[in-house]
Symmetry: C2
């Protein structure tokens, strides 16, 4: 099916994406929360539509480039979860005005809140704000239920109408460090409680906090309940990857993206296959290898069926070369120079970022291309 | 100088590039070889012109996208050093015909040579070929002076006029594993000898081999001599990076590219600064850390002077967040939220690949943007 194509290229199984998307929608329905898909993995309006069953509902973005791309395509409710800097507000203001979108920012610092408020006032803009609370990852966020939380809320309140406190968010990014469902469920409860208790405290001070946002794909899947939460952010569930598979969070036939590569050499030292997919085509992320050391930079699969060739993996990457050790030279006849394989990526978010489009499969047949956005 | 700009962005000091370029031109002049710059690092016609002192001389590329980009911009002598696959020939043929460029391919397999010859004949095309010899890295290439080398040459010869054997190439990629000049000089001699002896053998069988191509920046710099070699391929010398600095191959004020990032948070756990430059803005390559463990994903520097803040480095990356541990919270006042820093990348080739353009500095002042190409 893939003969004659320029490689490397990114292949997306749209049927798998639809199945993955439907499962998370059902799950969020059971939890009684709104799903706000994170589009930093897919960076695709086509995929975001599948996530929301054809709608243009709330989304989460990681860059203003994504915010701009999705706002231009009609999305209206956009949460940007990388803390905003004052110099970025003018562009954010243009995105809101030109496209009629509403941007929500996260903040975790009272001085930053004051700067953002001042800049928003200078622009004559109005932005919604969620205060980020740290539920233990210590990447960003303030202590839940803390004095600093209240100080930030008061600073935001003083910047009305240019800033509007819409609620709180937390992110249990450290849930990706576990492969144990009970441990993930426990973190989900910490994440939930940090957000809900902080929202309750703010409400007791007169801030309504209509949004209580939590998320990470693992905690969304394994939380015992999300009482008090209003929305869940998750992204990788749409595609999955070896990092998630290695943690037992998805099944192998859920994996929806792969890299099509060509065998360009047979190295008798090793022996190994040389592919035209290296560090740029796959990324150098090896996060899956903690629980799946054999993942390398990606598992090598039959191009048509996406069935792995045992544990064949790309174990060494140069900029454009990927090296795949094979048990013996019989593999040279099995995969001659010029033949194609597909590679299941270690970490889909980073692998996909190298590509400007997907080759889309439906019922196993290539049906066209979907564009991706990128950059900042 | 950088206030108010959207970040992250890629900054290029053109004065440093000119100095780096001039030094390698002088070096190749002393060695008596042609310099064929590898443009996979810069992916920029502006930088390639600096490399050749304003000319459009021979270049090396790693993708057909680069070949297409440079051919369209007027380059005529293009060596593509990733082994070619049959399915890519039609595009290569278009690049030659539409732009009047001459593409040189590398091959290291007789069956591949036969397939390439057959496809070239079907296209009515003519391509120059270098046979790749393996000088010890075992990434690709045949044994120097081997029967397989001769068999490939004969296969190429039988495909005339569609394939034309132009010579041999070798690449001591394993030279990047050393920080010892004597060890690199020894590898340079192995690389040189592998190429020259193989060319001599081919000449003894009637193949003229006008091109004997070697390269890697370290071996080009530290070879005792390159007798018998006709050209050197090198790329990273134009920019340098921490991986090269860590091996003592360049000086810190040679480093020509950096990532401009904004402080978007202060994390009291740590304590640490949070930057808006993470895994996508910096890449996850940590090749420098073997000899410079403190390099992390990049060293954090004063935005105006590019002087490092001691050993401050990005030590943890998420997709769009970079975490920079600081000794104490006094750094929060020194680098408040909204301030900018520049980051010296661990491995420039991979970091630059995330960007579509450079912000160019001359005499320390921003003077405009230069586009980059990318993808495949």
């Amino acid at each position: 099916m893939f003969e004659g194509l320029n490689t490397p290229r990114l292949v997306l199984d749209a049927d798998r994406v639809e199945r993955n998307a439907a499962r998370m929608r059902v799950r969020c329905g059971e939890l009684g929360v709104t799903l706000r898909p994170h589009v930093k993995t897919a960076k695709s309006t086509d995929v975001a539509r599948i996530a929301a069953d054809g709608e243009q509902g709330p989304i989460t973005v990681s860059t203003l480039a994504e915010a701009e791309h999705f706002a231009a395509a009609g999305w209206r409710d956009i949460l940007y979860t990388t803390a905003i800097a004052p110099a970025k507000l003018a562009r954010a203001d243009r995105i809101q005005r030109e496209h009629g979108a509403r941007l929500l920012f996260v903040l975790d610092d009272r001085e930053a809140a004051a700067m953002i408020g001042k800049e928003a006032a200078a622009l004559g803009a109005c932005f919604g704000i969620l205060i980020e609370v740290d539920c233990g990852e210590h990447r960003s966020g303030v202590e839940p239920e803390s004095e600093e939380l209240l100080a930030i809320a008061d600073t935001i309140g003083a910047c009305a109408p240019h800033l509007e406190l819409m609620g709180v968010m937390s992110h249990a990014g450290h849930s990706y460090a576990f492969d144990d469902r009970a441990a993930i469920a426990a973190l989900a409860e910490v994440e939930r409680h940090a957000a809900v208790a902080s929202a309750e405290l703010l409400r007791s001070r007169g801030y309504p906090c209509p949004i209580v946002s939590v998320g990470s794909t693992p905690t969304a899947l394994f939380a015992d309940h999300l009482s008090g939460v209003t929305e869940v952010r998750a992204g990788i569930y749409l595609f999955w990857d070896l990092a998630q598979l290695s943690r037992g969070i998805c099944a192998q036939d859920d994996l929806a993206v792969s890299v099509l590569a060509t065998v360009i050499g047979h190295q008798r030292h090793g022996p190994s296959l040389i592919l035209d997919a290296g560090a740029l085509a796959l990324s150098k992320d090896v996060g899956a290898n903690r629980f799946m050391p054999e993942a390398g930079y990606g598992l090598v699969c039959d191009a048509d069926t996406l069935a792995p060739y045992g544990t064949l993996a790309v174990t060494v990457v140069h900029q454009e070369h990927g090296n795949v050790p094979v048990p013996d030279e019989s593999w040279f006849a099995r995969l001659p120079i010029g033949s194609v394989v597909r590679i299941l990526p270690n970490h889909a978010c980073l692998t996909c970022a190298a590509y400007v489009s997907y080759d889309v499969l439906r019922a196993g047949e290539a049906v066209g291309q979907w564009p991706r956005t990128g950059g900042w």
